[in-house]
């Protein structure tokens, strides 16, 4: 069902010394250094969606200490690298997850923990849950289970670390490169007037990740319905006091 397989992506990571443009073996030393550091230091967002969040505190505390791997929890999406979707994703939550995802700075990784993100899991018959997470966000790793034990979570994170080291974990680019596909799926769930404060197309243009799959009929629909977002109204006195006066 997913048409993502038909989109050509770079299959092999760039290994040092094999680049066609330069034959200098030191050409990629900084890239390798930064990729190494990215693998060794991961900030996970402490926003855990559903019931699977219960398996993260044991992984962080004394018994299965995740700080040994360099992973520490951070509280805002701006500071975090990993977005952990633990558990079922109701449609209400999915909106907030997408807002959170778009606020993170790249490179960012999405991990779908628990079977509900894989194919609906235990709540597949529900009218209010999203079944396949990777239709709405690019997912780097799934850790199946209900819930997976902390050892399984740490095992999955170690696989992610190995992927980052070899340079294969660049799914964040796919969001920019195939924004029309993701936006289409999001609009199917949320309606045609779905918009987020982040201007993905402008960002794609700025970081030169714009492809011909970024714009399409769904982004045209977005442009039709897009309204400028206004700041929230700040009131200094509450309504009852105003009514009394």
């Amino acid at each position: 069902m997913s048409t993502l397989d038909k989109i050509p992506v770079r299959e092999q990571p760039v290994t040092p010394g094999q680049s066609t443009k330069r034959s200098n073996p030191l050409a990629h030393v900084f890239d390798d250094l930064v990729a190494f550091c990215r693998a060794k230091s991961l900030f996970m967002l402490h926003y855990c969606t559903g019931c699977g969040a219960i398996e993260l505190p044991p992984a962080m505390t004394s018994r299965y200490d995740m700080e040994q791997l360099g992973i520490q929890p951070m509280v805002t999406p701006r500071q975090a690298d990993i977005l952990l979707i633990t558990g079922y994703v109701s449609i209400k939550t999915l909106k907030r997850i997408i807002l959170t995802y778009e606020q993170m700075s790249s490179p960012k990784y999405v991990i779908g923990i628990c079977s509900c993100t894989v194919n609906g899991g235990m709540y597949w018959q529900s009218y209010a849950t999203a079944k396949v997470l990777k239709d709405y966000l690019p997912v780097d790793l799934y850790i199946a289970g209900c819930m997976p034990r902390p050892e399984a979570v740490i095992d999955g994170l170690k696989e992610l670390i190995a992927d980052i080291k070899t340079g294969r974990a660049d799914n964040w680019k796919r969001y920019f490169q195939n924004y029309d596909y993701y936006l289409g799926n999001q609009q199917k769930l949320f309606g045609d007037d779905w918009q987020t404060p982040t201007d993905i197309i402008a960002e794609a243009r700025c970081y030169q990740l714009l492809t011909d799959q970024t714009l399409g009929k769904h982004t045209a629909l977005l442009e039709q319905h897009q309204q400028p977002l206004e700041a929230l109204e700040m009131r200094l006195r509450n309504k009852e006091k105003q009514a009394r006066d």
Partner: protein, 183 residues
């Protein structure tokens, strides 16, 4: 004191007509009344028998009898008894009176029942959606709403063929009941 309140309760319930009382266990009483007598019953229970705590309001969908059954659970701290007051309303208009004036927490339960079953409570302060804010379909807890059919119409599942399953099937094993048959 408990015995005095018990006899008070019995005399109170004896005063009303068209009422059926059944003591389910020592601490639970089931009362069935008509729809127009229920607010009066609750007011009497609250004022004269000490049932000042509203635990919950539930709704049951009797789709074959074309009725909704509303159940009001009230609790007394002194006698520590729960009274479940059952009443039936016709399914078609699905409108009932709100007991917000008696018990303020009722507003929350009535809002929930309105969202899930479509029953409108007149006099309830806020009937807006708060759980199913992204939902535009029929009230989902009604028995005529088939959630599974809805899912099959509106969502698409992933074709799940992981490597380890292929290896098992190559060796002659595999799963006995395919997910497509269960779904």
């Amino acid at each position: 004191m408990t015995k005095a309140l018990d006899t008070l309760l019995d005399s109170l319930l004896g005063e009303l007509e068209n009422i059926r009382v059944q003591r389910v266990t020592q601490r639970r009483i089931r009362v069935d009344v008509d729809a127009d007598a229920l607010p009066t019953l609750l007011e009497l229970l609250q004022g004269r028998a000490g049932y000042i705590h509203l635990s919950a309001i539930s709704c049951v969908d009797w789709v074959d009898e074309l009725q909704f059954e509303l159940v009001y659970h009230v609790w007394s701290y002194e006698t520590r008894t729960l009274i479940s007051a059952h009443t039936r309303i016709p399914r078609e208009p699905g409108v009932y009176i709100s007991i917000y004036d008696l018990y303020q927490p009722a507003a929350f339960f009535e809002r929930d029942i309105h969202e899930m079953f479509g029953v409108y409570f007149e006099g309830s302060p806020n009937m807006e959606k708060f759980i199913l804010t992204e939902w535009n379909g029929p009230p989902p807890m009604r028995k005529e709403f088939d959630s599974e059919q809805f899912v099959h119409q509106h969502f698409e599942f992933e074709n799940y063929q992981p490597d380890w399953l292929r290896e098992l099937e190559a060796r002659g094993g595999g799963i006995t009941k395919r997910p497509e048959d269960i779904r």
